[in-house]
């Protein structure tokens, strides 16, 4: 599965557009990470726990995106966009969307 955030792929022709596909994931961190983060919040610097959490969550969202595209019979997803929103204290929603296409 080719995933790209370009609208037109160089040297490749799109045979068919299959429409929008999306994937989302909401995750919250556990208390241990929360305590560590509040300590680090005092001194500043990178919050490794949060970075990892959001990365995992993004991977999951992308897996869902791919699954949806596969179900449609696509072999590529173009014009992929990410969107993150913090919906509550300590929980974040990751949303990925793109256009499923069939390439030559």
């Amino acid at each position: 599965m080719l995933i790209s955030n370009l609208e037109i792929l160089p040297n490749k022709t799109i045979i068919k557009h299959l429409g929008l596909v999306q994937g989302s994931s909401v995750r919250a961190k556990h208390v241990g990470r929360d305590i560590m983060a509040s300590v680090k919040n005092l001194f500043g610097g990178e919050l490794v726990g949060y970075t990892e959490l959001l990365q995992e969550s993004r991977e999951e969202a992308m897996q869902r995106l791919e699954k949806q595209a596969e179900a449609l019979g696509a072999n590529a997803i173009i014009n992929v966009r990410f969107s993150t929103s913090s919906i509550a204290q300590g929980a974040a929603e990751i949303y990925v969307y793109g256009t499923a296409v069939i390439l030559e």
Partner: protein, 147 residues
């Protein structure tokens, strides 16, 4: 009285530790930026010369928090208005670090160019009084890998 002393000590300690950590981070950012200068990351959608390339989505993300002293300073700035320098450096660090991580993962895959860079910023931790505690920055783009 004790509370006041505690806050003062906390401010002084976080000022020194926070400043030290920030300086260390900037040194590492500048060093890695020099190393990855050869790999251009541009915000256009079509490559300048079309060759045989493989496309691959690359991501880089980081979550950085601001220290207690700077948050205190920002609250003061909020009162008087004007530039909030303490948050400027926070976002600058986060953006540059995210771009670097994206470039590093592209360089691992032997990419020569990264197209259509997009940034996504979200403040994920809100401190007391809805002040910004930490931001997450995601940088993403399409790596062009020569075949």
């Amino acid at each position: 009285m004790y509370q006041l002393i505690f806050i003062l000590v906390l401010l002084i300690v976080t000022y020194f530790i926070g400043t030290y950590l920030e300086k260390k981070h900037y040194i590492s950012i500048i060093e890695r930026e020099k190393k990855l200068n050869k790999l251009p990351a541009i915000a256009i959608k079509t490559p300048p010369s079309v060759g045989d390339f493989q496309q691959q989505l690359v991501l880089g993300s980081v979550t950085i928090s601001v220290d207690y002293f700077k948050r205190f300073l920002a609250a003061l700035h909020n009162f008087f208005g004007g530039r909030v320098t303490s948050y400027e450096t926070l976002l600058d660090r986060a953006r540059r670090e995210a771009l670097l991580r994206m470039k590093e993962s592209a360089a691992e895959q032997n990419a020569t160019l990264i197209l259509n860079i997009k940034y996504e910023t979200v403040s994920i931790y809100k401190g007391r009084g809805k002040s910004v505690g930490s931001v997450e920055v995601l940088a993403y783009g399409t790596a062009m890998i020569p075949e």
